[in-house]
Symmetry: D2
Subunit: 336 residues, 4 copies
């Protein structure tokens, strides 16, 4: 960590500051530059709050050198592979996860499940509790959805990803689902993250729509710090100044970046990024080309009557087409 001091800082102020640094168990080096004095802090600063130094009036700027997420950081070329049922996410293969935003009834859910199996897809998304912007919107079927999950899961031997929106839902969901999804709005719900750190089941951690990559990895650090290593990161678009035509902006660069910064796998959810079905295929192909370990796609039997996210759900036929194209593309990329 490097601390730049303000001009005209007194010797007295410097000694206050250095005493404080030493009291944290760190050592330091003071360098007088042309225009500023700079303090280099030596030692493990990964768990130190860089902002705390600004409380000293003489501090002009604090620059972090060590990343604040030691367990998430990539320190060797080895990648983490997260096993979900028959799929190994992060092993170089492409895992496509499909399913409805929310479970609405047995028949349509069963129908999508059948399609997945037909195309050798082994993980299904399935909303039970839905966080909705409006209190008047459909909030998910709850227990009824879980019964449907049970029936379909057993019938087709599918692994199920479902969103958990509150720590209290944990016991209810646990027997039915294989991957706990943390949604964008809950990426910094630390009570939830701590709870998921204490289990072993995989966690699919979506990036908050306005969170930096560093904040996203800090949230993953919460889960890893608790002992759970089975984390799948999921990019789903960020909020920018331009939302005229898409709900969010898919941050395609996050894919290669995440691979440089961490050993964790990354998948992409183009459905929530675009917020409209007619861009999903192009964005999926782009994500695969950029190196994503998988895709998370909303599929609905009849999007026009969907109780949520109809605008961004693919019809089953279009989803199948997407699966075929992405697989061919992956094959091609592997041979390049």
């Amino acid at each position: 960590m490097i601390i730049k001091l303000k001009p005209r800082t007194t010797i007295n102020e410097i000694s206050h500051l250095t005493e404080y640094i030493v009291s944290l168990g760190l050592s330091l080096q003071t360098i007088e530059g042309t225009s500023h004095i700079v303090i280099n802090i030596l030692g493990d600063t990964s768990k130190i709050d860089a902002k705390s130094f600004y409380a000293f009036e003489c501090v002009d700027e604090v620059v972090r050198i060590q990343k604040p997420y030691p367990k998430v950081s990539k320190t060797s070329p080895q990648k983490t592979i997260v096993t979900v049922g028959q799929a190994n996410i992060g092993d170089g293969s492409l895992t496509i996860i499909g399913g409805p935003c929310a479970i609405e009834d047995f028949e349509s859910f069963d129908n999508i499940a059948k399609t997945l199996v037909e195309y050798n897809l082994t993980i299904m998304r399935a909303g039970v509790f839905k966080p909705r912007t409006s209190p008047y919107s459909f909030q998910g079927l709850g227990q009824e959805a879980l019964d449907i999950i049970k029936a379909v899961k057993d019938k087709y031997n599918l692994a199920i990803v479902s969103e958990i929106t509150d720590k209290l839902q944990f016991e209810l969901l646990e027997p039915y689902i294989d991957v706990f999804q943390v949604g964008a709005r809950n990426m910094q719900n630390y009570e939830l993250l701590k709870a998921l750190g204490n289990i072993n089941k995989p966690v699919l951690l979506k990036r908050g729509f306005s969170n930096t990559i560093d904040e996203w990895l800090m949230s993953a650090e919460y889960i890893l710090a608790g002992g759970n290593k089975n984390i799948i990161l999921c990019e789903r678009g960020i909020r920018t100044f331009d939302n005229t035509y898409t709900r969010n902006t898919l941050d395609i660069s996050s894919i290669p970046l995440i691979k440089k910064l961490t050993h964790l796998p990354i998948i992409v959810d183009p459905s929530h990024a675009a917020g409209r079905w007619d861009l999903i295929e192009d964005l999926s192909l782009a994500a695969v080309a950029a190196g994503a370990d998988g895709l998370l796609i909303e599929v609905h039997q009849n999007p026009q009557t969907a109780l949520s996210d109809g605008a961004q759900s693919l019809k089953i036929e279009k989803f199948i087409e997407l699966v075929k194209k992405c697989r061919k593309l992956k094959q091609c990329l592997d041979s390049i």
Copy 2:
């Protein structure tokens, strides 16, 4: 609600869409413009999900006319006044709330409380559970903090604002605090909002750092829809492209806007917006001049040793100065 159709939409597609609209209990009017067909939906659409129409391939754009937050909307000139202890927030007066980011020990908390009372301030902020970006940072004292609150509250007859970060903390906090604060990161934690809709105690609802004003008011609608009318909105800065010098950008325009859009009172938290103590006074004066009903300010006895938010906490002397200046300014504004 107005729906613009794509060019070359067929009559068949239009009848599918209009049937669906009618099935929602709404009526409509179709208008053929120079370049597009437009459908005007008539009836109460405040609880309809505008996005759902995009699932129809012929739909080009959906425009909401009615706001989706009927209970929060301002329909008469009457304002909601939220009473917290001796203060009436929203009645035209200025309410300044001060206190530390988190309670760290009895002595320093007692000391700040004493200062508040000396200056006739009747509400104190007091962190018990702290949501922190890093799992390695101080997370609040929990029960120990509550005991300190109890002692200080009784001694000085202060009302206490404290953040709730999970539904499960409700029973623990309830006996000790007077206002439940929902932090920026939890503004869309709907399970928490629903729980707070079922009580009568005031809720201080902070704007998420990347949430639009409409989303903020939708979260307030969740609480109002549950039956709790005692909501205080709190602007605390939004995330923008420029964070070189401030943590967030204080959205000063939100103050007059909120007054036009809703009957609820609005206060401003310049401490979290700026993230640095040396801008707090100027931003506080600006907020008061723009019409804020109150201020929420972080104060610490010794910011350099603060376990959290030291960089943005004011020393007690500087806080007193700010209180004096803001009060003089308010007096002046009332006379203009």
Copy 3:
């Protein structure tokens, strides 16, 4: 265009407004909804300034139905193909343009040119005047660069793309270059756009780093309105809240969106989006997969000594690798 009126608008106010609308040569229809009165304006509103209606106090919201860029809008499935030397941009093929940020000397420029020709690339980028954030940075070689361009261009029969930063440079540049590039910072330099509307040479119009897609297309409309149809759009990343690891965020969705909204071709500049060489290959592959008509890549013989943009320039060997991979990918995509 649709105008939503405020509650409690008087009949007098409505007639003022409708008179004004009629005075613009438009007709209208007034609809009384449950909560609001709405006015539908009929007629060609593509050239009307929607914001002007807000000057009427009774106006609550104005919604544009017709796009304000009639000439740029896609009204038929036919695409514009822009011919640059031997390349046809927009005809379904992939055009890769490479070259240094700025021309620094004959030898290195000649060297890159030779490589391009070897790999059948026929368009080269070549900076003559460089807009730089700092007045103390290298500003381009000017006339000296033009002499180098002349020599290299004739030797290898290459077409040259170069940035114009001021109308006054036009006569100087015109004899030497084949495509006028309008940089991100000049996307709304309307005097420059008007000048480029009066010529026939192709214009490569970069998206401003903080401009919406609609604003970008409005700038293209300036050029088309002047009579020049040879416009190549270029996505180069937008400014978002997260710039920790990349200079800008490549807006990958803009590629399929532009294809829906306009008949003009779109290419992608991953070098400026990322601002770092080590992401360029992944972003290029993603852009090709998403359907881009071409790529614009910064290449330098020795990036470490580059006078500008060294951080984001590819070495020649890495550029060749990228060209090979993108071509294989394109071939694969064409066969899917």
Copy 4:
């Protein structure tokens, strides 16, 4: 400047890098920390391009310690005072500048001028050339506007601020106007900035709507580097994710920040920030309370028929009210 190296950097790579640093006339110090090697560059780095170091593959991060705008930086408590006619901007007083977006005809311009004089306002804004998003919108009266300026200026002894959108307009505008305004879209039009650096007349430099404070000050450095010290900075709102209710977000914090970073005065333009007349008064009061040296306000005799910016223009009566209130507020603030 501080350079953090990647893990596993070789000695060879380090010596390449250090040789390069030395070749720039700088010295350095290498520090081995717990996890990384860090290089401190010593010497004047204010004119060095920090990004250039990223071209070295071993470089992980470059951190600037010295600001890149040496002439604009505040190195002593002394402020620059810019004299415009009878006003001294930056001397602690409040300068309010009013006038129409664009000059439309003599009579209405004369009328506003008369009002300004009546209220002892000595500077008037007056648009001659208007940069407009649409090529079909009113682009300003040009020479005709200049004749009107001449007549009104002489009659009332007013100083005139007008926007220059292209270097070529310089000779035309020069005899008529007292302050050259650089608009938000031209803040990085470096050819224009260089031209304005060569004169002595004051320049009103608006912040680009998506430019950081550092970029804004870099543009001011261009003008100062040329020798012109008469620069007035103008905050006019930045683009954020929320533009539902305002065109831009007024960055109120920029006022106290600019005062810390530079010796130049700062005024605020709430009209362009809000984009709507009904917020102007509240934002003006906030700007004055936050310490602005002045205000720039759009005023129109009849906003409903304005050829540009009618939505955000104040009627004359409302403008007078604003002037009175802001002056009372300023008096009050001076006494606090």
